[in-house]
């Protein structure tokens, strides 16, 4: 239409350039639908059903995000302490690094020690051999010259003594003439044999020594060669490592970009069918509202037509009955024939009405399905808008190892990205906590302390049904990041939006897993209260295992806490539908324990089974507070449909025991036979 008008106008208007006319038409178009000229300037092309720019509404969201000033009473010392705590954490990280480096040094040292030891061993061998050689050589010489006795006597004696010794020997010789002769002869033969044998040994050992020296030289050459190869390999690895990381990162980025384009394309296609966000002008205020798509409009039109047809047939039926009563006054012959005809017509109308009713039910069912799809579409549109408005949507690598991919979702003060750990080679979820730069210092410190407590609780939790916390680090002055286990399945909130009511068997297996996580938290030396159990905080991995997450409101139960419970120091926080009555107590400081989580789990189970929360389902958080909805939640009512077992109802009643003293805690309710699978449903 606009194009036709463009052609029409351009042929008539001789004093306007063709280039400026489309812009003018666009601005006039905006005026006609009630937008100011400033808004018209932002129009793109000829689109008249425009979606307002993300920046504008992003700003609005930012204003909404501006919380009131905190009443925190901490002084500067507390702030400094917190800063120091962060420093200590960083120092600890450095120490860990140092420890690793030291280990490397030790390894090197060990190598050197081994080498040195080898050298020492070699030296010892040489020394021993040298000694042996000298000893044997000396002996050989002695024997070679003649009598051993003579040699030994001669060597250490002075010349005058030689004469005396010589005389002594001659005396002995003279006395034992025959015996001396025999000894002399035998000794010579034996010594000669020894000499020969020892000479042979010397030759063999020298040969062996030569071989060992050769082997040593060979091994040293091989060692140097291997060392060189190792160095080359290390250098190569050092060069390849950043390249490999870059390649992986680039591949992940291209996959993520494709996913983004696909998501946006799908949203645009679904918008045509299911609807889109439109702009409503009330005076000078512009607000967003939902405009149903063609599919829903068609369904509503069909429904309306069906209702009209039904009403028409009802009128015909009443007319027929009236005719019947009138005909009753007629002749007997006419009466005999007509009643049958009238009855047939009545049956025809009844059948038609039944048929129309079935068709109406079909349309209503289809409309419900469209409503579900619409909800999913709205969630995706919200996610895409948050992603486009995020500061981290350009695939950064955080802390030199976490490659951010696509946005998973955005919460009150944080946004969560899917990311890839380039060191551990696994997918993770990076939760980016942003402190508003305009916050007061007190508020910032309060938030940081709150996040540090969450971290300290969460990092120690290692359980199949609890999301793992891997890491935490700062990004800049106002931003830090926690790295969590990535669960590729949906969260329970999304599951319930798609399927509001689950069969009891499926619901039971979910609640059992949640309780197993709670049991783990309560069997530790330090018990933990989660305090924020709700569908959005239960995630599923690709195999369907349920995991509890988000410990931002959790509480550590100190050892000295009595059986009554600990004091609730963060009253007002949390999601009110899921909190027990004692959390809304205003006359005194409430005492809480794991019974809070038991109540929350009971509400959760009720919602999974019946598709709505038992208390305050249709109320806003503010209204729940104003009308004391939870404080009045003394008894839980169960709808008649769907059919749920009495055991399940009794279990829920136990969880939702109004009186805190009588309500079982986590470890007590864990004994409930309903939570075991020994008995079949």
């Amino acid at each position: 239409m606009s194009d036709d008008m463009l052609i029409h106008f351009s042929s008539n208007s001789s004093n306007q350039s063709d280039q400026s006319l489309p812009t003018k038409i666009a601005k006039l178009e905006a005026r006609m639908v009630g937008k100011g000229s400033s808004t018209a300037a932002q129009q793109s092309g000829w689109s008249s059903a425009s979606v307002p720019s993300a920046g504008k509404f992003g700003g609005a969201a930012e204003n909404l995000a501006e919380p009131s000033t905190s009443s925190d009473s901490d002084d500067d010392n507390g702030g400094k302490f917190l800063i120091q705590a962060n420093t200590q954490k960083r120092q600890k990280l450095q120490e860990d690094g140092s420890a690793s480096v030291f280990e490397c040094v030790e390894v090197v040292t060990d190598g050197r020690q081994t080498s040195l030891e080898a050298v020492e061993t070699k030296n010892n061998i040489d020394v021993n051999r040298k000694k042996h050689g000298r000893g044997r050589g000396s002996s050989g010489s002695g024997r070679g010259r003649g009598s051993r006795v003579t040699d030994q006597t001669k060597t250490p004696i002075s010349p005058p003594t030689v004469l005396a010794s010589n005389g002594h020997i001659e005396n002995v010789y003279h006395k034992d003439g025959r015996l001396s002769d025999q000894f002399h002869s035998d000794n010579s033969a034996s010594l000669e044999e020894d000499v020969a044998s020892l000479q042979a040994k010397v030759v063999a050992l020298e040969e062996e020594l030569r071989k060992s020296k050769q082997e040593t030289a060979d091994y040293q050459n091989l060692y140097r060669q291997l060392e060189k190869e190792l160095k080359e390999l290390n250098d190569h690895e050092q060069k390849m490592k950043p390249k490999r990381m870059k390649i992986i990162s680039d591949l992940l980025i291209s996959v993520s970009k494709a996913e983004r384009q696909e998501a946006r394309l799908k949203v645009r296609q679904d918008s045509l069918r299911l609807g889109n966000v439109g702009v409503i002008r009330a005076g000078t205020v512009i607000s967003e509202t939902w405009e149903d798509g063609q599919a829903l409009k068609d369904l509503n039109a069909q429904l309306k037509q069906l209702i009209e047809t039904k009403e028409a047939i009802e009128r015909q039926r009443k007319l027929l009955k009236k005719k019947q009563s009138d005909k009753g006054d007629g002749t007997a012959d006419a009466e005999a024939g007509l009643p049958e005809d009238i009855l047939i017509h009545d049956e025809i109308y009844k059948s038609r009405l039944a048929s129309l009713k079935r068709e109406e039910e079909n349309i209503l069912r289809e409309r419900e399905r469209y409503e579900i799809e619409k909800g999913r579409l709205i969630r995706e549109m919200k996610r895409i808008r948050d992603e486009d408005g995020s500061r981290f949507n350009n695939f950064q690598i955080l802390n030199h190892r976490y490659a951010l991919l696509n946005l998973l979702g955005k919460g009150g003060f944080s946004e969560v990205y899917k990311a890839f750990d380039l060191v551990e080679h696994r997918y993770v979820a990076c939760k980016l906590h942003g402190l508003n730069a305009q916050w007061s210092e007190e508020k910032k410190q309060s938030y940081i302390r709150h996040a540090i407590r969450e971290y300290n609780i969460h990092k120690t939790l290692v359980h199949r049904h609890i999301v793992r916390l891997w890491d935490i680090f700062e990004i800049d002055q106002n931003t830090f990041c926690t790295v969590l286990e990535y669960c590729s399945g949906k969260d329970l909130d999304a599951v319930l939006k798609a399927t509001p009511i689950l069969p009891e068997r499926e619901a039971k297996v979910i609640i059992v897993q949640i309780f197993q996580g709670l049991i783990y938290m309560n069997k530790r030396a330090q018990k933990i209260i989660h305090y924020d159990l709700k569908p959005g905080n239960v995630l599923f991995d690709e195999l369907g295992v349920a995991k509890v997450t988000d410990f931002g409101l959790s509480k550590i139960v100190e050892d000295d806490v009595g059986s009554q419970g600990m004091e609730l120091t963060s009253q007002g926080a949390g999601t009110y539908w899921y909190l027990p009555p004692e959390c809304f107590e205003l006359s005194k400081t409430p005492l809480i324990s794991s019974k809070v989580d038991v109540w929350s789990a009971g509400i959760l189970y009720y919602q999974i089974l019946f598709g709505r929360r038992p208390f305050g389902h249709d109320q806003t958080q503010e209204r729940i507070l104003r009308e004391d909805t939870i404080i009045k939640a003394r008894k839980v009512e169960f709808p008649s449909r769907p059919t749920i077992s009495n055991e399940a109802k009794d279990f829920i009643r136990r969880c939702l025991t109004y009186n805190q003293a009588e309500r079982p805690d986590v470890l007590t309710i864990a004994q409930d036979p309903y939570l075991t699978f020994s008995k079949k449903l």
Partner: protein
């Protein structure tokens, strides 16, 4: 739903000379009785770029209005050429017919208007100064742009209730479907 709906608008005396008065025959229906007056306005957009060149040609009050169908002819003087920039007289612009209740505009009908010389020679060789008496006005009456705005026609009924934001499809908790829900970090005394 709106208490008043326009059922038909007929542009009388079209095309016409630029200096001819406007005449609109307006038919509308009233679904619920209204105590105060309806205000009908005719606005000539003098410049696409600047709203200050808008001219309010006529404003009439009709009322009180009871349930039923109504019809009247709204006549308005032509725009003052001296208040329109020279280069904006010849060419395309829009005409706005609006209706308000209690100061709240609830419906707007827009028409494209094309102003040009009636003489072919003048069209091909436009004179440096506009000859206003030779300009022809052509309203594209077969392609109106109708825009409706939801307003509260009966503010006295829910005087004691909080006024909800205008929305045909409130979400489960009555919030804007795409609004971001935020919460404060909890106040901590010690933990």
């Amino acid at each position: 739903m709106s208490a008043v709906n326009i059922t038909n608008v007929t542009v009388l005396d079209n095309p016409a000379s630029f200096l001819t008065p406007f005449q609109f025959e307006i038919s509308y229906e009233c679904l619920t009785a209204l105590k105060d007056d309806l205000e009908w306005k005719l606005i000539y957009v003098g410049s696409a770029e600047d709203e200050t060149y808008d001219q309010l040609l006529e404003s009439v009050l009709v009322g009180p209005v009871n349930v039923g169908n109504y019809r009247f002819v709204l006549q308005a003087d032509p725009p003052d050429p001296s208040k329109i920039r020279e280069e904006d007289i010849i060419g395309v612009t829009v005409l706005l017919l609006t209706c308000s209740y209690l100061g709240q505009e609830f419906i707007r009908v827009g028409y494209y208007v094309n102003n040009d010389y009636d003489d072919e020679q003048l069209r091909e060789e436009p004179p440096p100064k506009v000859l206003i008496d030779r300009v022809q006005r052509n309203i594209l009456s077969d392609k109106p742009r109708v825009t409706k705005f939801p307003i509260n026609f009966h503010p006295e009924n829910n005087e004691n209730e909080e006024q909800l934001p205008p929305s045909e499809h409130p979400s489960e908790t009555g919030e804007d479907p795409l609004a971001v829900v935020d919460r404060d970090p909890p106040d901590e005394k010690d933990s």
